[in-house]
Structures are given as C-alpha cells and as structure tokens.
Symmetry: C2
Subunit: 222 residues, 2 copies
DNA sequence: AAACAATTCAACAGACTCATTGAATAGTTT
DNA sequence: AAACTATTCAATGAGTCTGTTGAATTGTTT
C-alpha cells in the first residue's frame, strides 16, 4: 500500500464518521442521547421527527458506530456508543459557539427573548453549591433525573414546576439546569420562577457536561 | 421564536460546521494546517489535489470559519481559525480510532507492511526525554520544524535523513515524530533507520498534540 | 400460532456535493 | 501600465443525501 492509498483510506474512513455528524437532526439526536438510552419513538417525539425518519437517521448513526442499541422487551433503546462520542460532540459544540457567530447569536437572542436570563457555568455553580448558597433544580423529565443527576439537585420537571413553587424560598438563589446548553427547559423554568418573584438563573452546561468533568453526582447503578 | 425554531436554528448552524468537516479532503487539509499556515499550492501538493479543487475546499472551510487567511506578498496563507478547531479534529480522530475498526485497522496494517514499527505515546516519550534515554528526530520538512518543535528534537527531514545517519549513535534509542498519527514520515524514517541497524521507533502523536498538552517545546515567536 | 407493537425497509423526487475544466480576478513585480 | 503569479469563479454532469409514504419485518405477548 502506498502513501496516497493509505491516506485516502484513513481520511475516507474518518469522513464516514463526520458525514454521520453532518446533519442537524442527527446532531440533535446525539445531544439527546447524551442523557441516556431512548427508544425510537421517544427520540421522534423529543425531536419533532417522524418515527420513520428518526429510525433512518439512527441507522446512519449506528453504521458510523456512534450509537449502539440494547433490546428491552418490545423496545430497542439507542444510546451513545461511548464517552468519546460525547467528547467529540462537546468539542464540536464549543467550536460552533466560539467561532460561529450564528450559533451564539441564536442562543443569546433566544434568551433575551425570554427576559434576560442570567447563567452560571459549571465551575461557578460547583463553588456556590459547596457554600450552600443555592437551591438547585433539575428540570429535565423525571426519568432522566432518575438515571443520574447533580448531587443535591431536586427533581422539578418543568411541566410540574408550577406545583412545586410553594416549597421554594424567595430568599435564596435558585439555579435550574437541564440537558445541555441548547436545552430550553431551564430557560422556561427560570422565566416562570422570575415571573413569580423568585431569584433564579440557569446553568449553561447540562448534566452530561457536569458528570464528564467529574463533579459530584448521584446516580442509580443499573 | 418558539422552541422548535430555536432548535432548528441551533442544530442547523452547527451542522453547517460539521458538514464542512464531512469530506476526506477537507479533513486532510485540517490535519495539515495543524502544522501552521500553508498556501493553496502547498496544500494541493501535500494532499495530491488540484489547486482549483483545494481552493474550493478551502472556501468551504473558510465559510464554516474553520480556517482563516493571512496575505503575505503574492501568497494567501491558510491556517486553522483557532485552537478549538484542532481540539475538535483531535476528538474526531480519537473517535475514529477507538470505535471505527476501519481506521485503526488501516493504520496498523500499514505499519505492519513497513516491518512492525513500534510506537510510544507522548507521555511515555516525555518521560524518556527527561531521563535522557533517547535521541529525538523531527522528520517533518524543515520549515515546519522551524515554526516550532519538541524541546531537544533534531531536525531530520525524511528526505535528508540518509545523510545524517553518520551523526547518530547505534547504541541509543532513536524516536521519530512528525505531523500526527496519520503522518507517514515517521514510519518511513523508522523503516530506514532499522534497515541501517539503528534502534528506532515512532511517536504516535504529532507535534500539535504535544504542544496542546503543554509539554516542552521550542518555537520562534513571530 | 395469531395478534400486536415497534422498528425498519424500499422507492421516489427534489435538493445538494464533487471533481474537472477553462476563464476571470486580484495583487505584485518589472 | 504591462506582465506575471496565485487564487478563485462558473458551469457541467455524475453521484449522494433527505423526507415522505406505505408496506415489510422482527420480536413479544396472548
């Protein structure tokens, strides 16, 4: 094998991976699967795709070895093939946020549209938690909280948040987090909390980012 | 702006970046540009593309803000838009190497074809260098060595290596490194050295990986 | 084994992507 | 300003990617 053949093969094989990542729906699926395993139907519902379309994209991701499946009764659950997949996704996300003005602009515009939502990053939140300065809300669906969540976080899925308001203090800062920087549950939660007179902000990163950094979590061993 | 619009915009913007990465030639260009700035013609020569074709791909990369240009006399030099681009490329490389059997197989097959070339990784090499156990050769073109190289490395471009053999000891281990894990200069150098009776191996990573980890380097400040 | 639910397949049309060619542009040197 | 060089543009045809539809498959429960 000569030099050129070798390079063609290597970069060709790698481009098969990046091709699999080169579609907005598939990126959204990966972002979702960072939370844990989901069935095709759940994925379709969470992303607004048809089931057939979601399945097709999942096949593409599976062929590129970015996701793997586990059977569970009638359902097939898809999850990321490994930690490296989230790593690569996080790196691409950073890349988009830092150099691609579009991405950052869309995100900040959206947050302004919801009333100047303030945000902290993971390390700042970690310090605040240590000093016991904040109440931390996990506003993802309960199932995802159950799979794993930040140490000391309270489950408060955004649809049920309204009912839980009476248990919250208006004197303490409340921080909400969800799936990741593109997840809007935390924005919705903070908007509601502020409207009701609480002090609230969101954490920019999501649970997977927190866990990857080795910050304190609680999770069920499965 | 509603939730769905927001997500479509975010993942759409990000997919424009990943689309730019979803082509073997463009990946090869990024891997090359990790060494520093190159003109279109140099890029074309290094990758076996036509100049027009290379230019077209460079436009794509520029639009995705993955590369930027600097004028220099008659030439336009392209370089990576920032450290994050190399980060993302490294993450994708890892992903390919770990989960995509193809990539790893191609690489190991190629090295076997060249006579079982042994390799060390960056941290092992760093330890060996500290103990002064090895001679380190930078076998990239001299220009790239001049831009920056590993502390204590000797420049020995693979085409000129033959002439430098007489200055090398047959008693000490010789380690060669080049641009990165897919660069074959180090393999060629090690094959030659072993044929001539030297003890030699390659470092898996390249100069940019070494520098990114903050290991000791020497470089001209420009 | 039949009924059922979840998932995948097949096929289509429309939109993109690629390499190649030769011509056009922009900037530099004479 | 003319000649020159490096780079980009525009147009083409072959190939690939997408979403949609409805039918087929696979595995589970009755």
């Amino acid at each position: 094998m000569n030099k050129r053949d070798f390079k063609d093969k290597v970069y060709g094989a790698l481009s098969r991976v990046t091709k699999a990542l080169s579609n907005p729906h598939r990126l959204e699926i990966i972002d979702l699967l960072a939370q844990g395993p989901f069935s095709v139907e759940e994925i379709a519902n969470n992303t607004g795709m048809s089931v057939a379309n979601a399945s097709q994209h999942l096949q593409t991701l599976k062929q590129a070895r970015l996701v793997r499946i586990t059977r569970n009764g009638n359902f097939i659950h898809y999850s990321l093939a490994g930690e490296n997949v989230f790593h690569a996704w996080a790196a691409l996300r950073e890349l988009g946020m830092e150099y691609n003005t579009d991405v950052e602009k869309v995100v900040t515009d959206f947050r302004k549209g919801h009333g100047e939502i303030a945000a902290v990053d993971a390390s700042a939140l970690a310090r605040m938690l240590e000093k016991n300065e904040v109440i931390l809300l996990d506003v993802r669906p309960e199932e995802e909280y159950r799979r794993g969540h930040i140490h000391r976080a309270i489950s408060a899925p955004v649809e049920k948040l309204q009912e839980q308001l009476k248990h919250l203090s208006k004197d303490k800062m409340i921080v909400a987090y969800c799936r990741g920087p593109f997840c809007v549950y935390a924005d919705e939660a903070v908007a509601l909390l502020k409207k009701k007179g609480f002090h609230a902000m969101r954490m920019n990163e999501g649970y997977p980012d927190w866990a990857l950094r080795g910050l304190p979590i609680e999770h069920t061993t499965m």
